[in-house]
Symmetry: C2
Subunit: 430 residues, 2 copies
Amino acid sequence: MESLHLVDGGAAELENLLLDLGRRARRASRVLALAPPEQKNRALTAAAEFLRTRTAELIGANAQDMARAKEKNLAPSMLDRLALDEKRIASMAQSLIDIAALPDPVGRVLDVFERPNGLRIERVATPLGVIGVIFESRPNVTADAGALCLKAGNGAVLRAGSESFHSSRLIHACLVEGLKAAGLPEDCIVLIPTRDRAAVGAMLAGLGGNIDVIVPRGGKSLVERVQSEARVPVFAHLEGIVHLYVDSDADLAKAEKILLNSKLRRTGICGATETLLVDRAGADRLLAPLVKTLLDAGCEVRGDAAALAVDSRVKPASAQDWSTEYLDAIISVKLVDGVQGAIDHIETFGSHHTDGIVTENQAKADKFQREVDSAIVIHNASTQFADGGEFGFGAEIGIATGRMHARGPVGVAQLTSFKYVVHGDGQTRA
Amino acid sequence: MESLHLVDGGAAELENLLLDLGRRARRASRVLALAPPEQKNRALTAAAEFLRTRTAELIGANAQDMARAKEKNLAPSMLDRLALDEKRIASMAQSLIDIAALPDPVGRVLDVFERPNGLRIERVATPLGVIGVIFESRPNVTADAGALCLKAGNGAVLRAGSESFHSSRLIHACLVEGLKAAGLPEDCIVLIPTRDRAAVGAMLAGLGGNIDVIVPRGGKSLVERVQSEARVPVFAHLEGIVHLYVDSDADLAKAEKILLNSKLRRTGICGATETLLVDRAGADRLLAPLVKTLLDAGCEVRGDAAALAVDSRVKPASAQDWSTEYLDAIISVKLVDGVQGAIDHIETFGSHHTDGIVTENQAKADKFQREVDSAIVIHNASTQFADGGEFGFGAEIGIATGRMHARGPVGVAQLTSFKYVVHGDGQTRA
């Protein structure tokens, strides 16, 4: 099976091949940047059609990946992510159709201003360039990430997890068929054709100046490596240590409903709440019912002294708990001194991803939303709304906690840059 | 005089001092991020007042720098940049007042959208964090850069050119007095207190995660070093190889006026035109008068065969000329095949900074402005409008040719990030 590595030569040969891929993606991206919306959408809908007609073949390729993964004793959760069936393939194809249906983000006039000398200056959205996406076992990311980059007029260099090698190759082939059907260069979406991990290093170094931004899609160790090694900008978040602060002026019923949804709707996503902070001034009224609600719903609660006192099922929290992203049905619970205490705790232990407040007091909500330095700050709603789809972005390639360029959900609009287009009538500068 | 280095210890001691400066700037930036506009403006106007009252002292400190610079045989142009007099100090103070008068960029609601479930999502401008500014001999950049960072709520770590050591220290002292007068932490604007060039390396590495973006202000070799070594994002342009394309459908009088201003108004700025491209189809009508206009105005012309043929004063252009930023009264001139030929030339030899077209044909202007991949693309106006002040940004810290976050003139608004503020009324996610 290893013969399917397209590169069997040494390190130098691999490096040359990768640099060549980068150059090809850059060249193709220049054509794509100027492609009209209809042409990009045609490529996406054609690719969806290829995915549908090649479903049986895809299931076969996936079976090869699954067999190898089982041999290597991959965890059941990883196997589940890797698996493709008819339903998953149909949904992957549908998501290409959905992305095609999004408004085109390129060419939007983001701003326009007129100068006293009559110059009219427009700020117009342009593609970013070439985006490198490094992802783990889910093969559908090949389609999703490639499609989002394409929609925003960007070249894409995709590096699929080695477990999904055969599945990703075939999905990529469908994307390339789509590009060809629409008359776009096939190098608009390039897939790294090797399992060699050296390819990741080459991408993080920017493939000879041919990658403008890297998006890692995967677990903490991947993101950590990318953030520490990348020589190009990265759109990512390392973790979502998400807090929900329930204030003394909260409506208890609303707080319970929001808390349950924030913690337990899905526990494995980055917007899931990991720590509940309760206002000391409202503890008598709020703490016991909130903690019991969680426990009764099957959530493990690790609490401070006050939380321990309300129910024998509560376990003691260690110092470690305040900075742990459980991604599981576990929550840490702590009393804090009002909204300022909540802000202090969040700024000390948080990850600047998403944090929420429940209160009927608008002044306190304002203070919290102004002073908590996170990408998303939510008042009286579930923290699980931290999602590009829920924001109306249509689809997201990830959520960023960096402060540069993109912050929060990264959808097609966030995958664009801009330029200034200046309209004159003979003006010269004094 | 070397005793004024505040650090006389070894490399480890310097490193610790620098990391400590970074931490202090980060801590101060958190306070500054939440400071109301009036408090920031008070700091700026107070600093302006200190600059005015300490003018004599400043001239004395500058005399020390000038004496040392003359000893080291600095070029006359460098000496001119370094020199301070009453007028320059007054203008430096005035620019702080002008920056104080700009609209506050923090807290602007950049976007707002309402979701079908009733969630209202605002995108609100926040400070970026801590900005590192590395500049060469002009001491006034200490005041300008510090003030622009402050206005946008950012901490600043300033590294002044070693030639301006004493001048910059005293200007920085005035800024700190201003911060203190306004009740802001003095570490909001930190000046690297050593001439040791190792400090630049430490800043480019991010001072232990305490610098979010670097802005180099200086010549090409500084920018080159910063762009190749920085481990944090950089707002900069390496050079401005600016083109003016005069199309066959151009109005000749307008073209002459725009060309003269684009090339000769000031030759040393990044928006000055370096190459004139003339449409072959209009060469008979346009080339000779344009070339003669330049020559008669005292500009050296280096041309291709066609340009050489129109006037004996024209010198032959070498291959090198098409990618040279003269920053002087020299221009290269070439015929190209229409707007497509101009675009091809610019994409091959340009620096993605600023490029212009002169034409009365709107379709050709549209094509040029859409397809030229530069930060600023100008139709029928001087390329010297590439400037934050001319764009109405009030003041700029530089012009960026990178595609991430800021592109084009970088004013106070471009020194901000944003966050999403979500307003709910009990919404949970399905």
